[in-house]
Structure formats: structure tokens, C-alpha cells
Amino acid sequence: MREMAGLDEGTPLFAQVAERLAAEIADGGLAEGERVPSTNELAAFYRINPATAAKGINVLADEGLLDKRRGIGMFVAAGSRATLLARRRAGFTERYVEPLLTEATRLGIGSEELIALIKECSDERRGVAV
């Protein structure tokens, strides 16, 4: 199977394109007011059909995260970074905490032990970073 800059089999490509753009905006890779790659550029990069790329962009545009400027292209809307980070925060519990608890339960790790593990890991990181 041909590798496509990391796109996977399991979910519609347009959603993955939208997700990646959103991640880029949230991480600051794409600044507010900056031009977003065009449909054709995305299609060429990911090696996907332009209509699929367009759909991905439209998802973000429909959510107000991108502004369309006729004749020029799509630009990151003001406030979109904040919106996306807030969204990610809201999803944090569902995406990370729940699975963590599920796995911990499976392995018989109780909440107190879990909290201790988290602290330990956190300290380690700080130690390395500093």
C-alpha cells in the first residue's frame, strides 16, 4: 500500500485532512491570518483527489475556522486557534483520560496508583527538560 504522508485507511480522508489542518492551527504552525494551502496544493501533497481536499477545507470553513477571500484563497480566521484549543481541551477527557482509565482498570491499577504514576512521569520530564 502506498504511503500517503501518513493518512490512514480507517476514516474518510476529508476528515483527516480537516483534522491535520486543525492541528496545525492549534499548534501555531498556521498563524491567524495566514493563507491555508489551496485545494490543489493539499491534493498534490497528500496525493488525493482535489474534491476530497476541498471537502476537508470546507469542514473547517463551515465551522468558522477559515475565512474565504474570493480570488485569493482560504485564510485562518481570527480566534480559530483559541476555539480549537478549547475544543481539544473539552475532548481531552474523552480522548485521553477515559482510555487511560480503561487500560488502568484492565491492568488492575487503582486511581491512587495512577495519580502517583502521573506525578512520577511529570517529574521525570521536568527533570529532563531542565
Binding site: 476514516t11 480522508l13 496525493r47 488525493i48 483527489n49 476530497t52 480503561t102
Partner: protein, 306 residues
């Protein structure tokens, strides 16, 4: 807007078998459609009929609004790239060369781009002064692809055009196709059995099995539609309850089932908590099972607007 291709009740009978059986199909303008199916399913026959090279036994076929057979107006806006294309050949005389083939094509297609043709020859490493009859299979395919792309025809049909091309050359084809499609949008139909390579290029896919259309859907929507669920038997059964299931295999306390239906985040979470393994089926795997589709195929069908 008139669809680029509109086929109703198309049947093609041969003395010993039926190649196409009551085919109904619509292909929108400026789209890339994958025509998929096993060898002998009828893809080639369909494409040849669309190109006016074969005649239907019954039914109606419209390309760019009118029947293509013997229709100058349609045929000059259409190109079909076949893997078994015959080129003029003399025996003993000076040979028919690649450059001649391109020249002939340039007479016939008003949008012909000679620069693109040369650039494609270069990409494929094909020399213009080589005799066509001395080309390897891969080189013949490269020539066909070059003609197909440089013609910039409104309707561009490819019938498994990559015979003899290695993976690198095929990638060149896909990339060039995409680039050309972006610059000069056209209606493209690509028939292939190397499905996963090209899957991301398609906007729509049509699957043909034994002469009948068994699936006609948006390509992207099929991703994640069919999943292989495996794990402890009871968990599997519980998870798949109420959902269309295609296959079931079991070994001891483990079972593996192919299930139809998009999975939500909750579904995935539930599967994880049940200790189940989820593996989405690729388009290729999906199509390989086409003859066995019984249940749930209807739910696969959705269409992007034409």
C-alpha cells in the same frame, strides 16, 4: 448539468457469455471515478462501449449528452487508453515510431499539448525515435499514458493502463494524472485492479462484478465503512449485534467478523474496553469481497451530487 456519462439498461451479449448485464450508471463531469472489479468483470467492455469501439446489445449509452458510437462530436473529445492498443506497423518498411504516434494524436485532439507529451516521455524514460513495435510492455503503457494525458480530452478513460510499469513509474502516472486534473479538470475514469494505490485519487468508485454494477458510491465515504472485528467470541458477538455482518471466522475462543457500518468514537471506545481489535478494510479488500456481498451492501451506497 448533463452528466459526462449516462448509461441505462446497458447489456452486451457475446455468443458464449454476457459481458454486461443491465448496467445503470452515471458519471459526473470533472470527476475522477475508479472502475473496479475482478478480471473479466466487464470493465473493459464498458469502457470500450463508452469510447464507441464496441457496440451495445441493448440499452442506452450517452457520453457528453449523446451516443458515442460513430459520433464524431463526442469521439474527438474523448480518449481511451487501453493496455492492448495496436499501433500501425509495417513489416520490412521503416518503422512507426513513438514520435509518429504522438504526431498522429496531435492531429486528432484539439487540446493536445506537445510540451506535456515530451515531458511525460522524459518522465517515463521513453525515447521519441524508438519504434513502437520494439517497445517493452511497460514502454507501450507509458506511450498510452502519454497520449491519454497530453490529449487533454474532456473525457479521459484509462483501462488498466499500467501493464509492465513498476511501482515508481505507476506513481509517476498517478502524480501526473492528479496534476493534470488539477490544471485541466476533466472527466476521468480509471479502471484498475491495483486499487489501494489509486484509492485516494477517486472521488467515486463503481464496482462491477460479472457484468453488473454492485457498488456505486463516494470513495471517501467507504473508508472505515467496513471493519474487521476480532477478539473473544462473546465480546465480538456483543459488539456486532444488530449490525450487518459479512463473514465470520472462529478459532477456539476467538472470533473474527467483518462488519459493515461506520464506527463512532464511542464504538471504538467500547471495542477497546471489550478488548477487541478493530481493523478497517481497505478499498481493495472491500472490492475483493464483492462477489460475496449479500448483506449490508445497500448501506454502502451514497452518492456525491453530480
Amino acid at each position: 448539468m448533463t452528466p459526462a456519462v449516462s448509461v441505462t439498461g446497458l447489456t452486451r451479449r457475446y455468443p458464449d457469455h454476457v459481458a454486461l448485464d443491465d448496467v445503470h450508471l452515471t458519471i459526473g463531469t470533472e470527476t475522477i471515478t475508479g472502475l473496479l472489479g475482478r478480471n473479466g468483470a466487464g470493465k473493459t467492455t464498458l469502457l470500450r462501449i463508452l469510447a464507441g469501439q464496441e457496440f451495445p446489445s441493448s440499452g442506452s449509452v450517452h457520453v457528453l449528452g449523446s451516443p458515442p458510437a460513430e459520433n464524431e462530436n463526442v469521439l474527438r473529445r474523448l480518449v481511451l487508453v487501453r493496455e492492448d492498443q495496436e499501433y500501425p506497423d509495417y513489416q520490412g518498411y521503416p518503422d512507426f515510431k513513438v514520435s509518429h504516434a504522438l504526431r498522429a494524436a496531435s492531429f486528432c485532439y484539439q487540446n493536445w499539448d506537445a510540451g506535456l507529451a515530451s515531458s511525460l516521455l522524459e518522465d517515463f524514460g521513453l525515447r521519441a525515435n524508438k519504434a513502437v513495435k520494439s517497445l517493452s510492455r511497460g514502454q507501450r503503457s507509458a506511450l498510452g499514458i502519454t497520449i491519454g494525458l497530453a490529449a487533454r480530452a474532456e473525457v479521459t478513460l484509462f483501462d488498466e493502463p499500467y501493464a509492465g510499469l513498476d511501482a515508481v513509474a505507476r506513481q509517476v502516472f498517478y502524480d501526473r494524472l492528479l496534476a493534470e486534473y488539477a490544471d485541466f479538470p476533466r472527466t476521468v475514469v480509471l479502471s484498475t485492479h491495483l486499487i489501494d494505490e489509486a484509492a485516494a485519487l477517486f472521488e467515486n468508485v463503481v464496482v462491477i462484478d460479472r457484468g453488473r454494477v454492485v457498488l456505486d458510491a463516494a470513495a471517501d465515504g467507504l473508508r472505515g465503512m467496513v471493519t474487521a472485528v476480532s477478539g473473544p467470541v462473546l465480546a465480538v458477538d456483543s459488539f456486532t449485534q444488530g449490525r450487518p455482518v459479512w463473514e465470520r471466522r472462529g478459532l477456539g475462543s476467538q472470533a473474527s467478523v467483518v462488519m459493515v457500518g461506520q464506527l463512532s468514537g464511542e464504538d471504538r471506545e467500547r471495542a477497546r474496553s471489550l478488548g477487541l481489535d478493530l481493523a478497517p478494510l481497505s478499498l481493495q479488500q472491500l472490492v475483493a469481497r464483492a462477489p460475496g456481498w449479500a448483506v449490508g451492501a445497500g448501506s454502502l451506497t451514497e452518492r456525491t451530487s453530480v
